[in-house]
């Protein structure tokens, strides 16, 4: 499942340019390969669209401790979101601001809630701390991906308030 992941960013713009270039070339010797190329472009377009939608969804999430968005703090970058829409799979890797950041699980919970609320149900989501960026990396990862714990956390009014506050600017 993981093998088909796409780090879409560097690929997107390259392919977009290619599409523009290929349009006027219809009729010349490239014509034979055009249909295949077009299909590939369409698939890529879908992936890019989903990727950008994700980015808009999650990059405005506010850091629980600071008045900045996660993107401004480099907690989330474009490279950190991997999308495989063929397998309906998303992986988000985030970087806590300090190694002992106690808010890492809350940030992760915010990411999960945001994606749960905005993605089609068929998507499987894994959320991870970037390797080597948190003192209790595996414990945080395990907790964030245990759906029973997430479900219980989301029935805790205090935690839900905190998450809603973090998501406020982008959740409409």
């Amino acid at each position: 499942m993981v093998s088909g992941l796409i780090n879409a960013n560097p690929v997107i713009y390259e392919k977009k340019e290619r599409r523009v270039r290929s349009a006027p070339s219809v009729g010349d010797d490239e014509h034979a390969v055009e249909p295949i190329d077009q299909l590939e472009l369409e698939a890529r377009f879908v992936r890019v669209f989903i990727f950008l939608t994700f980015l808009n969804h999650i990059r405005d999430i506010k850091d629980p401790e600071h008045p900045y968005s996660l993107e401004e703090l480099k907690v989330i970058t474009e490279d950190a979101i991997e999308v495989d829409d063929n397998h309906s799979y998303v992986r988000v890797t985030f970087t806590p601001t300090v190694e002992h950041c106690s808010m890492a699980t809350v940030i992760g919970l915010c990411l999960r809630v945001k994606l749960m609320r905005s993605l089609p149900q068929r998507y499987k989501v894994d959320i991870r701390v970037a390797p080597g960026t948190h003192a209790t990396e595996s414990a945080v990862n395990k907790q964030l991906n245990d759906k029973e714990r997430v479900a219980a956390a989301l029935e805790n009014p205090n935690l839900v308030d905190m998450v809603d506050e973090c998501l406020a600017p982008s959740y409409a």
Binding site: M1, Q121, R122, K142, E148, R149, A151
Partner: protein, 385 residues
């Protein structure tokens, strides 16, 4: 019926049941209704639903909704062996006992004591004990008293993280619990009413024949002897792959009909089969150790949440990859010891994670599965003719 011929089984989807408005966590077939099956399901929508089969159409319909009792997710449910009482465990930290009083289900008792979410509930074979477990890392044993009274008999501490599931052995008063701490623990009573952990099936499966409570001097001596012996034998055990436990959360476990084998499923994407000495168990030795028999890996590619062993020996598993898998003991080649083979698989059995799979109590091979998509599906594993 020969279950050992390849390719003669087919999985038929009988019915999809809708009604729950949130993920369906778990379900339990009523063991006393084999001819006209009834089961209960529980959900994140805080309700429990009772489903009954209409004999004429052989289709299920919702007979009752048990609501306004639990204030949070109902995580698990279990019928007493007589089928008269239903126990429900909830994230609201309580366990409720429901009785079917002339067709209506009434909450007749509420068990309080856990500090937070209760995750699983199980009745022993005779219906005299109930066990519950929680995120508070404890397992509670409740004694069933006359008049729907439940008295806490023991609070078992030993797991280092939340306990995901408790399950009594099908014939003996030995309790099994599995946990977020990656282990399975075996609990037994020592003859004086005290319950202790007699074995931990963990990643580094330290041999513990007589761990904490040898009640008589002979056993004490024997335990020391065994420990000394295993000091020398342990390196050999490592070589022989005795280090065999799960490497992530153990979500569920189930026993075969004979009660001498157990299957566990985990977030580490494997199923493991464990075996004990049935002879020693028949003689009343609660502490016959469980040993790792084999590991089934490569069949699911996301967390395996549920596993259930049918009476005739078919293991069904359901996972977060939305798929169902069926396994059967491979009796062809016993050269390398017992092994299990994939009998059948169904991708996309549900649109979302599968949380629970349970075989029905009747003669036909009926399986019910529950999912995050809010649906319950009834399947029949039929033989091609």
């Amino acid at each position: 019926m020969d279950l050992h011929d390849d390719g003669n089984m087919i999985l038929k989807e009988i019915q999809t049941l809708e009604g729950h408005t949130d993920r369906v966590w778990s379900l339990a077939w009523n063991p006393a209704t084999a001819t006209s099956p009834v089961f209960a399901s529980c959900s994140g929508d805080k309700t429990v639903r009772i489903w009954e089969q209409t004999p004429s159409t052989r289709l299920w319909h919702c007979k009752a909704v048990l609501e306004e009792t639990h204030t949070r997710t109902v995580r698990s449910c279990a019928w007493s062996p007589s089928g008269k009482l239903l126990a429900t465990a909830s994230f609201d930290a309580t366990t409720s006992i429901w009785e079917n009083i002339s067709g209506d289900f009434e909450c007749v008792s509420t068990l309080e004591g856990h500090e937070n979410e209760v995750k699983s509930v199980s009745w022993n074979a005779s219906g005299s004990f109930l066990a519950t477990c929680s995120r508070d890392k404890t397992v509670w044993i409740w004694e069933v008293m006359p008049g729907n009274e439940f008295e806490c008999a023991s609070v078992l501490q030993g797991h280092t993280q939340d306990v995901k599931m408790v399950k009594w052995h099908p014939t003996m008063d030995v309790l099994f619990s599995c946990s977020y701490d990656n282990t399975v623990k075996v609990w037994a009573e020592d003859g004086t009413g005290d319950w202790h952990c007699v074995q931990t099936l963990g990643e580094s499966n330290k041999y513990s024949l007589f761990p904490s409570f040898p009640p008589n001097p002979f056993l004490c001596f024997y335990a020391t002897l065994v420990d000394a012996l295993f000091f020398f034998i342990r390196p050999l055990c490592w070589l022989a792959d005795i280090v065999s436990g799960h490497s992530s959360t153990v979500w569920a476990l189930s026993f075969n009909a004979e009660g001498d084998r157990m299957v566990t499923c985990s977030d580490d994407l494997t199923l493991k089969i464990w075996e004990t000495d049935v002879g020693r168990m028949v003689l009343g030795d609660d502490h016959a150790p469980w040993n790792h028999l084999c590991t089934l890996s490569g069949y699911h590619d996301r967390t395996i949440f549920s596993v259930h062993w049918s009476r005739e020996g078919i293991i069904a598993s359901g996972a977060a990859d939305d798929g169902l898998r069926f396994f059967l003991e491979n009796k062809d080649g016993l050269v390398d010891g017992p092994s299990y083979k994939l009998l059948l698989k169904r991708e996309k059995a549900h649109n979302m994670d599968i949380n629970s799979v349970q075989w029905g109590p009747g003669e036909t091979r009926l399986l019910a599965s529950t999912s995050d998509d809010g649906k319950i599906k009834i399947w029949e594993l039929a033989t091609l003719t």
